[in-house]
Subunit: 456 residues, 2 copies
């Protein structure tokens, strides 16, 4: 009966929206390991980091103690243009699956960037503007982050230069035009614009690129141009901080209806969505207030949690970034080009890596054809055409709901629907034409790329 | 002060959503003229129409008296997956324009079809299913209607065959894949599948098609295949009825905050969005309860209201449909292929035509380069990348807000933001590259196509 009272979409009121971001690290007993200077092996100082990142963001990056950060008024205003995002009760999916499970998803796709990425893009652009910078550089994989940053920069009047992973640039031709609408310049990576790009192209001619390559290029440009800094859409602590707005809203919506989730599922590339979604739930877990199963879902073709090692590694292929202690496949790992589903990063957020290492969360990997099957099923039943990245979480949520059907368990499942697939139609087309294949790296391949880890 | 209390987005609660559609015709003193049988010149009977349309829809089409129709429970459930849609206060746009005007838009783009079309698609698919049909056929121009119908049919398990205007099929390659995700078959029109398609291709080799052609093909297929009926995304009375959910929600949201609009602006192709948006406001006007300026915005390249004639004409190029009394450019009129912005129909809803004829609303036409300028401005300020169709309304709303800046008037402007432009990036690209041109038909051209009107 109480179920009937839960609407299809739970929206918070504007005045119920979070006014602070939550910093998960403050409540972790074992803090994530610090970033290291690859030259000296010493922890990166604020001063060193501020050559790459904006000052306020450096402070957020290094702060393992402050639990809550006020969201600046200007960012709150921007959030109000597209937030709160709905927490959707997947009544139709439950009915179609015939499951006793209760399924909810936090849908972050109702904005033009098409994903949750806008939550951190506006924050990072805001701090760049506050510092009086001319512009920012970044990389983008699937294109959501680049679009989000372009939107934020257009809003604030900042210059925006985006290095886009070549395979995505080619598979998503219209992404470029969206970014152009927002006044950004977009370069396929690796490019001949940068020293690191030239080097990567010389070593791997014809490479389809990776987030790692594109990061190297964007960082090089930021650090060699006056008035520019680099911004990143995932992996970093600051990004997880900003993305906590997802989880805080989701938890507030659940609390409003007195719903206690059993399982929280999110896709994981660098960890931005997952870290944001789980933040307040993980807080309960860290403080012993509640227990939840928390599951990271990654692609079988880029399985950093499930087949990587927990060690210091470069965040970028060009090895110009600081070292981060994380689950990694080695910074030389480049996912197979047939992998269309995003989440192509070789490493993982240091915060999430530490939590996973300490047993606070689980991880599974799924193959992309299964992911697209789940995506199509979801689209037909729930109406929304999901991003391939988000569909990793859908796949595991559906599997779990089907398992509940067998066992009769009335589990409450919450997953993150990070975005829409409107710019992923080339991948959907391949799937429809039966041209999509799976790729799972062999143990030998992984050993080889893991062998390139730096000695620390 | 009271402004500050109005949120960026006004969402109705689920239980505040309309439970009935409103039929504008019930309150019109002069009813729209009946559809005529092109052979006999007599009004089309329910029996005749039911060869083309589903029975319940025929009843809705012909009913000029019933003011409110209950929305069936199954349609209400479907609506709850993506409705209510937000009524957005364009605070950022107001600020950027420096206008004292208050601007609101009803945003219908937050669903995978990308527009308001889903409101009628689910209704029409529902009645087809209820009648025990196998499937439906339709035409689509920009692709939103086809996508919407595909989604509705997938949800209900109906077959769906879509004839897509060739120029859109080519300009929006990914639309096909979205529809395919939802299990529809999509054919570029004119095609060699139908007799009427063959005839049009013989007479106009290399034609880029029009909604009129595509309608002819879809109707032919529906009437020659057992268990199929034709459904249409605009123009018809039944569509305006279903789309009244837009206006009813918008008015309920405005009423909630005691906001009285001065002007209501909507883009107009066949009239589905405009007729839906204005429905309850027009009711006030018809009943003498309130007055509003109501403005239809159409493309200068397809100006049925502003340069057409009010007369009986065919709804389709192939001249197999009933005759409708409407503002029309002649059923032989095919908009210039350089016109990328949708709204390509030669005629207009009979209901809206009658209201316009009787002086209840105004109409203006705008050129497409100006429309895309407004679209880009809007995207950068309000975040949302608008559909070119919707951007016709944006253009006029911005012009009016700028006029208010000059005069100091604090007008309250409400416009319909019917959808998103994620599948219109080819058009945006042309605009960015300076390759977009305007086209305004000459008086001679219009006289020539208007000369083809049937004698009634």
């Amino acid at each position: 009966m109480s179920n009937r009272e839960i609407p299809y979409k739970i929206y918070l009121e504007e005045n119920e929206m979070p006014k602070q971001w939550y910093n998960l690290r403050a409540d972790m007993k074992t803090k994530p390991a610090p970033l290291l200077n690859p030259g000296t092996g010493a922890p990166m100082t604020a001063d060193e980091l501020s050559h790459v990142f904006c000052e306020d963001l450096v402070a957020q990056e290094l702060d393992n103690d402050t639990a809550y950060f006020d969201i600046p008024e200007e960012i709150l205003s921007f959030y109000k243009m597209y937030r709160p995002s709905p927490l959707v009760r997947a009544y139709c999916l439950e009915k179609a699956l015939g499951t006793p499970a209760k399924i909810y998803y936090k849908f972050e796709g109702n904005n033009t960037s098409g994903s949750h990425k806008l939550n951190s893009a506006i924050a990072q652009a805001y701090y760049a503007k506050k510092q009086g910078l001319k512009g920012v550089t970044t990389e983008t994989g699937a294109g959501q982050w680049g679009t989000a940053l372009s939107m934020a920069c257009a809003y604030l009047g900042l210059d925006c230069k985006v290095y886009m992973v070549k395979v995505s640039y080619e598979q998503k031709p219209f992404r470029r035009e969206v970014m152009r609408t927002y006044g950004a310049s977009v370069v396929p990576s690796p490019s001949m614009d940068t020293e690191v790009g030239k080097k990567i192209l010389a070593e791997h001619p014809g490479t389809t690129g990776s987030l790692g390559c594109a990061i190297s290029e964007a960082v090089e440009v930021a650090t060699t141009h006056e008035g520019y800094r680099y911004v990143l859409g995932s992996v970093l602590n600051q990004v997880l901080l900003h993305q906590s707005v997802i989880g805080l809203e989701a938890k507030a919506a659940l609390d409003k209806y007195d719903i206690k989730p059993d399982v929280i599922i999110g896709c994981a590339g660098g960890g931005s969505n997952l870290g944001g979604l789980i933040a307040p739930f993980m807080r309960d877990k860290l403080l012993g207030k509640a227990d939840y199963r928390i599951i990271a879902v990654e692609p079988a073709s880029c399985p950093s949690f499930t087949r990587g090692v927990f060690a210091y590694d470069f965040c970028d292929t060009g090895k110009i970034c600081p070292l981060a202690k994380m689950y990694t496949l080695g910074s030389g790992f480049i996912p197979a080009p047939n992998h269309a589903g995003g989440l192509r990063f070789h490493g993982m957020s240091t915060t999430l890596s530490q939590l996973y290492h300490d047993g606070y969360m689980e991880a599974v990997s799924v193959e992309q054809t299964k992911v697209f099957e789940a995506a199509e099923k979801f689209a037909r039943i729930e109406g929304i055409l999901p991003a391939p990245e988000s569909s990793h979480a859908i796949k595991v949520a559906i599997d779990m709901a089907e398992e509940c059907k067998k066992t009769g368990e009335e589990k409450t499942i919450v997953f993150g629907l990070t975005g829409t697939g409107y710019f992923d139609l080339v991948a959907y087309e391949k799937f429809h034409n039966g041209e999509m294949t799976d790729y799972i790296p062999t143990d030998d391949e992984l050993s080889q790329s893991i062998a390139t880890l730096p000695k620390v």
